[in-house]
Amino acid sequence: MDNGSLNNKSTRMRQEWDNRIKHDYRYWMSDGINDDDAMFTVGERDLSIILSDVDLIKAQDEIALELGCGVGRILKPLSRYYGKVIGVDVSLAALEKAQQLLDPAANIELFLGNGFDLSGIGDESVDFAFSFASISIMPVDAIASYLIELARVLKIDKILKLQVYLGRAQDTRAEDTLAIRSFDRQCFEDGCRRAGFSLLSCKELILPFEISDPQADLVAYMVALKKESTATIDKDELVRVFLPQGEPSDNQSWQGSKTEYMMAIACATQHMGKGQIVEAIKALEFAVSSYRQPEPEVCNILEQLKCRQQGGPESVSHNRFTVLDRFFNADYYEKNLRVIEEKFPELAKTLAAHTFSAQISVQTGESQLPVLVLRGFPLDQVNKPLASAQAWVDRSLAEARLGASNFVALVGVASGYHLNYLAQRNVQLKVIVEPNLDLLHAVLGIHDLSELLKGVDFLVTSSEELKKIKQFEEVLTQAELLIYPQTQALSRYFVDECKRIFWSTRGLKELRPSVAVVGPLYGGTLPIAGYLEMAFRQLNQRVYGYDLSCFMDGYRNLGKYFQSQKRIDALQSQYVELLSQMVIEGIEEKPVDLLVCVAQAPLSPKVLTKIREKGIITVMWFMEDCRRFTAWQQISRYFDYMFIIQKEPYLTMVESAGAGRAIYLPMACSPQVHTPLELSAEESARWGSDISFLGAGYHNRQQIFASLVQRDFKIWGTQWPTGYPFDKLVQEQGRRLDPKEYVKIFNASKININLHSSVERDGVEPNGDFINPRTFELASSGAFQLVDNRLHLEELFTPGKELATFADRHELEEKIDYYLAHPEKRKAMAAAGRERALKEHTYVQRLKDMLGYIYADRFAELSRKAAEGPWPKVLETAKNTPELLTRYQALYERGEDPTLNALVCDIQVGRGTLTDTEMKLLFLHHIKKLVGDVNDMRAGKITG
């Protein structure tokens, strides 16, 4: 094949893509999405998959390249990480659109590609390259020539990531610019090697919707390649390596892409579902024009639609069940609905009010049973849906750990075949979760589920309802969670949320892992380690707190006798090593399952590695601004879980720095400490003022607070300047306060200003994301606060209802005046803020979430550990001594170890008659102590 034929193909590629972009760029770029923001959000998600395990530490000085960038949905988020990003696409229309959508000032360069090479991009000039949902649909010779080109432009040792399909080589035509190309895995790997790459990894790609089609042997992969050299092979030879028989060409007989045609029809169906006739017509016209042999029905529908648009008779049904047509059984539906109306009236109303999209269609196979298809993906096996659903149920139940109650919680109704079979298998289906109302509706019309629904206690269809988990905690702790695989693939995030809630509930009930909480030597997060310990106790977990703050004086004094910072650093690092060693000795003596570190806990990499080698799950709650404090870059790799208080891009960055998982977990409050106080007149005078601020004297705070000098304003905290006006404002010589004093200030002040610190900006940081602990502490204390606008604030509190916000100095002063004049508003807002904080933002809540994530991943591992631990045997041995058993159970509930000491601690001598069991335990306690003492004496140990 010469470049002439490539040129032909590239012309076709450009034309066809230009057409698609002009038709509906969002649809063709990002299936099913119809606004730009959503498109970029999906781009962000895809980028996080692309960048997982990519080292981003130096990205700011590097150049990244995307082949097939389209309108730039991935380029936009990518530009935040890399110094420069290059987007290459064959479609001029796409690049023109990209120019409109992307910030012209951004570090993004767009290249119009020719469909086969990367001319204009220098040799070994790129640090990272990828192609996502692009190279996989190119003609095979374009794929080959681009791969050779990518090997040319990438620097040695740098990474190329490709989203491709591997499995059975598909029967495609060289003319098709949209059909998925799939290669035999061995051939593909050989080709990559010959092109100059080594294979780093090849992971199956899982997206929230079905991307692979295992039945067709079409499985999506994310492949990571490392450039070793330039290609040692030419394009044609490479094509033969990929596809030994080559990709056939239809030449003149080419009818157009069937894939494109089908997708255009699906697009039309979506629009019809929403009643968007104009758009539907446009899509059908696109379908009919691009394919030479459109089906007559499609042409008919197009005609009808056009008629209707011109005011003709209505001939297209809007019945929401159109798609189900002959399979929809109105009797079943009514029967099912009656049960739902009775048991779940709210849901019945929601179903009635729901607008149905046309995302669902029906397919039938050999069995003629209807299989629901969501966004093009069948939810059950098309040929034998019943048998395969039953096989799934059998398999799942065989693996399930069903309790005595036989309760099951099911996520995903799919086409519904597994539902009735579950009932037949004598399990009690107590909870059904289905995030898609359309699906639920359809299933209610296909199956008679009325008997089954009568036994169901909870039918949940949204994350909001999912959050009301408390109501069905009792059921969940007894139930086994089954997740229908298709639902898992289609609604990954929702299913993750289900898993987290389920496992956290069940885990908290069933598991009692022992936890070590290690706090920092000093700093603002110090009290938080204590709050966490307290919260773990409230959750009845076994917790051992390592409060290292008492070693701070020693740490500070290491440099007492000399000046050299080098020496001080060296000694301090040895000191930290010693403290680390102390923690590991503690763990040796009191083994734990989980190590939870609070930011800046002084544990050395060596010790963290040792701890992990013991099979302990390591967790860090990094409560710092990842942008400012970059310690996470060094420590992430030592933690199985890094919880951070910011979202993207940091989650991806922290994971790429080596953390097992990075998860967003905002700060919180500890209601035992942060609580409304009754203050005496004296206390109110000392701690109170119209306006107060508590915190360190960061630049932006100094800048904004100086203007409040005329007011009754008190500043508390350290690191403030000494001169005017701060000499007037700063209280008690700017000393360090303790958390109990904080709460007095919160309670005594009419307005508590809460301004997040910034070292670079004046006043309010415009794009500040995370929320500081103060926000939660103030709310929990029932104090009124005026807090600066933050990106994450609205999802945690409702501004204007639970707290007041300001965007700049002007608004701050305006609101100060307003709220000083409206004490009742302050009071109401503070009360609402407290209610929200207590309900959603306590450390107990956070730990539930934290443990939920961990349990969802590690339930089996932890429960195996628990089974190996002492508890099962103890409870078994004690089963015939009821009082002793009860006492052990109390210890278990409190998360303690089953030791004699713990049992004896519950006995109070001299406070009422002791039971027989208590006497016996005291007897044993005496024996242990006395014989132990005698042995010590004999061994020459000094005893008292």
Binding site: T877, G910, L922, F923, L924, I927, L930, M937, R938
Partner: protein, 559 residues
């Protein structure tokens, strides 16, 4: 104890020596209640001892070693220990004891008695809330003297305390252990096999002791053996358990002779008794072997080192010689180990050999009246004491090489105080001595004793207060506020009384008794409690008065 008693339980869990020291009590109980069955509850390790103690009908063995091992493993093994205990309690309860005497002072035996739920329980017991109580004045006395500072003033042997606790007047003045004939045969054969079956005096030597600090150094023992073998021509047999063999090997490293052999680990308890019975004498520390020797009528020369104190646990028979070092820390606290036991150096092998020689040539009766001149054995270094029974049948020790003034303390004054307490407690709790001594005392003029006046005054103040309290309780219209005030005032007085015992150690036992008796008051009726409290102040006042008179008397007899 009532005549109806049919079934007696003795809890003697702690140690071998303790059981031997309880043997006169057991024997006397059996004599007193011939139809009663006596069951001894004992630790497995020491159960064997019961075989030779006359009067024991049944032995109930508790395997506390196993329990302890379970407890150290913790977790489900605690349940194992619990179930074992549960079963034991059940079995013991089924024996339906009428009476139980606790010979131990430990917390767990007190709880055990409580769990057995026997109406007539004596010694250390526990109330239903788990507080440890002492049900008997003698046991309380023992507790008062356990208080370390008071030890110097105690002179009532544990054997007498045991039998007085059981309320026995008639009792054998010796420890009771009967080795079986085959045990004695074994001992003879042992000597024969080791070619030590000649007529020369057989002397047993017990090298080991319960604590290292109470163990005389191997080099000293070696030197002693050499003297015994070579100068006295004696046969020497080292006794002890198998674990003590290493220690004996240390001795034989310094000196070995075919005339000095080890029987350590080669004798069961009965055989040890058989061997001791063959011996003319035992040289020992304060050990179980010592008690075993006196129970088979073999005299002992005993080195009471470190924390060992002869007035508490000395050999219970007449004419035994005790060597007691005089260093300022003697007797030391048994709960601490010692890195430099100076007291060991006060005793020389030569002196011990001399005492052995002396004892071999004298009868018990002759020993009691023997005197060693201070020039022969300097009382500044060592006290030589000899055991004897006083006119009331209580064991006592007298120093036969004289008293000195040591570290500013006149030993005579201390001895006078010791005698005073002895007479005082006998008078208070056993109604001995008789009228005779009081008649003698009348003739002696009182001497001034620092602190006694304050004690008397405080007791008087307490008495006044408590009488006012009783009035208030009886007067229902009284202001309850005053009750609290009086209680608070009483507390202050009690603290001051305790303070006097600490400042004037001579009164330590007196005030400690007072405190303990008050702590042991039980009941919820305010008036009864107040009346009992009043009795405590009365007792203190009375005892202080008696102390003053007795002390003046003994002081005069010693001068």
């Amino acid at each position: 104890m009532s005549e109806e008693i049919k079934n007696i339980c003795l809890v003697a869990i702690t140690r071998l020596g303790d059981m031997l020291q309880a043997s006169p009590t057991i024997y006397a109980l059996k004599q007193r209640y011939p139809r009663a069955k006596i069951t001894v509850v004992i630790e497995k390790q020491f159960a064997m001892i019961c075989e030779g103690i006359p009067g024991v009908d049944e032995v109930y063995v508790l395997d506390l070693g196993m329990v302890y091992r379970c407890l150290t493993r913790d977790y489900q093994d605690v349940v194992e220990a619990y179930l074992y205990l549960d079963q034991a309690i059940k079995e013991l309860r089924e024996k339906h004891f009428d009476c139980c005497i606790n010979m131990s002072s430990s917390g767990y035996t007190a709880l055990l008695l409580r769990m057995l739920d026997i109406k007539d329980s004596r010694g250390w017991i526990s109330d239903e809330e788990g507080n440890r109580l002492i049900s008997n004045p003698w046991a309380m006395l023992f507790a008062a003297f356990i208080f370390h500072a008071n030890r110097n003033y105690n002179s009532i042997n544990i054997v007498d305390i045991f039998r007085c606790s059981a309320g026995l007047r008639e009792f054998p003045r010796k420890l009771m252990y009967n080795p079986k004939p085959e045990d004695e045969e074994y001992a003879k054969k042992f000597l024969q096999d080791n070619k030590l079956d000649d007529d020369s005096p057989l002397i047993c030597v017990q090298v080991g002791a319960s604590q290292e600090k109470r163990q005389w150094a191997p080099a000293h023992f070696a030197r002693l053996t050499k003297l015994l073998v070579e100068e006295l021509g004696a046969r020497v047999v080292y006794t002890g358990s198998g674990s003590e063999q290493t220690l004996i090997e240390k001795v034989t490293k310094f000196y070995s002779s075919p005339r000095a052999i080890s029987a350590a680990g080669k004798t069961r308890l009965g055989q040890l008794a058989g061997l001791l019975k063959q011996a003319k004498l035992l040289v020992t520390g304060d050990t179980g072997t010592m008690h075993m020797a006196v129970s088979v009528n073999t005299p002992v020369v005993a080195l009471f080192l470190a924390s060992a104190y002869c007035y508490e646990t000395g050999p219970y028979s007449e004419g035994n010689i005790i060597l007691e070092p005089k260093v300022s820390c003697y007797p030391c606290n048994p709960n601490f180990s010692c890195l430099r036991p100076d007291c060991h150096e006060q005793v020389s092998a030569e002196l011990v050999k001399k005492m052995v020689e002396l004892r071999l040539h004298k009868t018990s009766a002759e020993m009691v009246n023997y005197v060693i001149s201070p020039s022969e054995v300097n009382p500044a270094n060592l006290a030589i004491k000899v055991s004897y029974y006083d006119e009331d049948g209580f064991l006592d020790f007298k120093a036969i090489n004289g008293f000195i003034v040591r570290d500013g303390v006149d030993e005579k004054l201390q001895e006078a105080a010791r005698q005073t307490y002895r007479a005082l407690w006998k008078d208070e709790f056993a109604a001995v001595p008789g009228a005779e001594i009081w008649a003698r005392i009348k003739e002696v003029s009182r001497i001034a004793i620092p602190g006694i006046h304050e004690l008397d005054t405080l007791a008087g103040e307490g008495l006044t207060l408590i009488e006012r309290l009783i009035d208030l309780i009886m007067d229902s219209s009284g202001n309850p506020k005053f009750l609290g005030e009086i209680n608070a005032a009483c507390e202050t007085i009690d603290r001051n009384i305790e303070g006097i015992g600490l400042a004037h150690t001579m009164f330590g036992a007196l005030t400690r008794m007072f405190v303990m008796e008050k702590q042991n008051l039980r009941g919820s009726d305010a008036l009864t409690l107040a009346r009992d409290t009043k009795n405590r102040y009365l007792s203190l006042k009375r005892r202080a008065e008696k102390f003053s008179r007795l002390y003046s008397y003994y002081f005069s007899t010693l001068n």
